[in-house]
Symmetry: C2
Subunit: 274 residues, 2 copies
């Protein structure tokens, strides 16, 4: 039985498995681009955080306490680099287009492969990503400005603290998508069905109420236009764990590089809880 | 920010806090009965599992991999016996009416207080309980046979395995409630809103399909009547972690005694995700 986000175990169909495997093979063989530009947008893509076992319990606790920004899809055994629940043959050391290596919280390298760094005590955390709920929003006809403008989504550090765990702490980071009111209401409904990929918004309306003073100056990603008849809608963001890693400063941490995700064999719709 | 099961942090109101505190004070002062018989049924009641830090990472992982039977409401820091997110002044060592102490998987004692056993390395896991979704079902007029008959709910070990983590493994244990078809459909909708307390059913209909051969002989709890126009509906059950603890056989484990739960200051409706 796979993690039962809904009543069904995740079953992987042959078409999804073949396309997921093809994406990972491309990354293994040198593709270093953004996975959101691939043909795999109906497949679940995921953030990666790899930590020494000494830090793993506290980080797991951080994710448990902050499920909106850190929705865990899978946690591997210490030393393991496969995650069979998410796809046969996944090798977390090679199958992402690009990685980031952090030492004591500082970016040290951005390699295409982390086999040389692998150790028996490394624990891999695979974390859900907003690409999945964006797929669901687009599939229901909700237009997304940053997609239309060909930009990265706008991300902001908020004044909302996460619930700390050990040395892991820091602000909640959010993404913002401007929507017309009717679309904002529908987006609440749609994303509520996807708690494994950040779920419902954490805020909408006045950005100042969560400590964001200028929407035109995001902390990460690109600014997008907000029209007069639109309301900004904010979701918890997978950059939150990266902000916590900067605070915790573990001796070693390996993550995906921005936009360079793990492509799994699951389909986005399988993550819906209802 | 509290664990964000929904967009709002859990805020605790004064009435709930006073009544939760009164229940816990009663337990501290000698009440050793079943918490489901109290006036606190609109408050969230919870299962307790306390383990040495050496076992805590694997058990946390077990809960992460099996969120339906093991929905974590809170995990305390090592040594801590308070959980402020669930209520001010909670003392996990004294505030449950009765505890069970397990040594190497065998029941060793059933004390009313575990202060003498407390150690700096003990990690407390507070796990959601089906009382919360039963409250939601009853509030919407879904009749529950075991409540009407004044019995314990029927529980069964299934042929569905949990996803193991370290030494923690074992079968999924389920509760069963017989419902008319229209009520079963509504119950799926209602309990889907409560993933923090087992969520949607894991099965309905033929018990044999999940390895249950005689509904009249539950593995735990009492048998209840199933009428000809009713369908049995099965939910993941909080006894599942106890079955996993019997497999893992940790040196020490402290749990609540059956029916003798932690009464928190949260209201059940606060656990609804939508």
């Amino acid at each position: 039985m796979r993690p039962m986000l809904n009543a069904r175990a995740f079953t992987i169909d042959a078409d999804a498995a073949a396309r997921g495997a093809a994406q990972r093979r491309a990354a293994r063989e040198g593709f270093a681009g953004a996975t959101c530009g691939t043909e795999a947008l109906d497949l679940v893509q995921a953030n990666l955080v790899v930590l020494p076992a000494a830090d793993a319990h506290d980080f797991l606790l951080f994710c448990q306490r902050n499920p909106r920004p850190c929705p865990l899809l899978a946690v591997a055994e210490a030393g393991a680099f496969n995650v069979p629940a998410l796809g046969a043959g996944i090798d977390l050391r090679t199958d992402l287009p690009r990685y980031r290596v952090w030492r004591r919280g500082e970016l040290a390298d951005e390699p295409a492969d982390v086999r040389a760094l692998w150790r028996d005590d490394l624990v891999s955390f695979v974390i859900g990503c907003s690409f999945s709920f964006e797929w669901a929003l687009l599939a229901e006809g909700i237009p997304l400005r940053h997609v239309a403008q060909g930009r990265n989504v706008s991300m902001y550090r908020t004044s909302l603290p996460t619930e700390p765990a050990g040395r892991f702490a820091g602000p909640l980071v959010v993404t913002m998508r401007p929507l017309k009111a009717a679309d904002a209401i529908r987006a609440v409904q749609i994303t509520s069905r996807f708690p494994a990929v950040h779920g419902a918004p954490v805020h909408l309306g006045d950005p100042k109420l969560i400590g964001i003073h200028d929407l035109a100056r995001p902390d990460y990603g690109d600014a997008v236009d907000v029209m007069p008849d639109e309301i900004p809608v904010f979701w918890a963001c997978g950059v939150t764990p990266q902000a916590a890693l900067e605070v915790a400063r573990p001796a070693l941490c390996i993550t995906h590089a921005p936009g360079s995700m793990l492509v799994t064999d699951l389909r986005n719709h399988q993550l819906a809880t209802l």
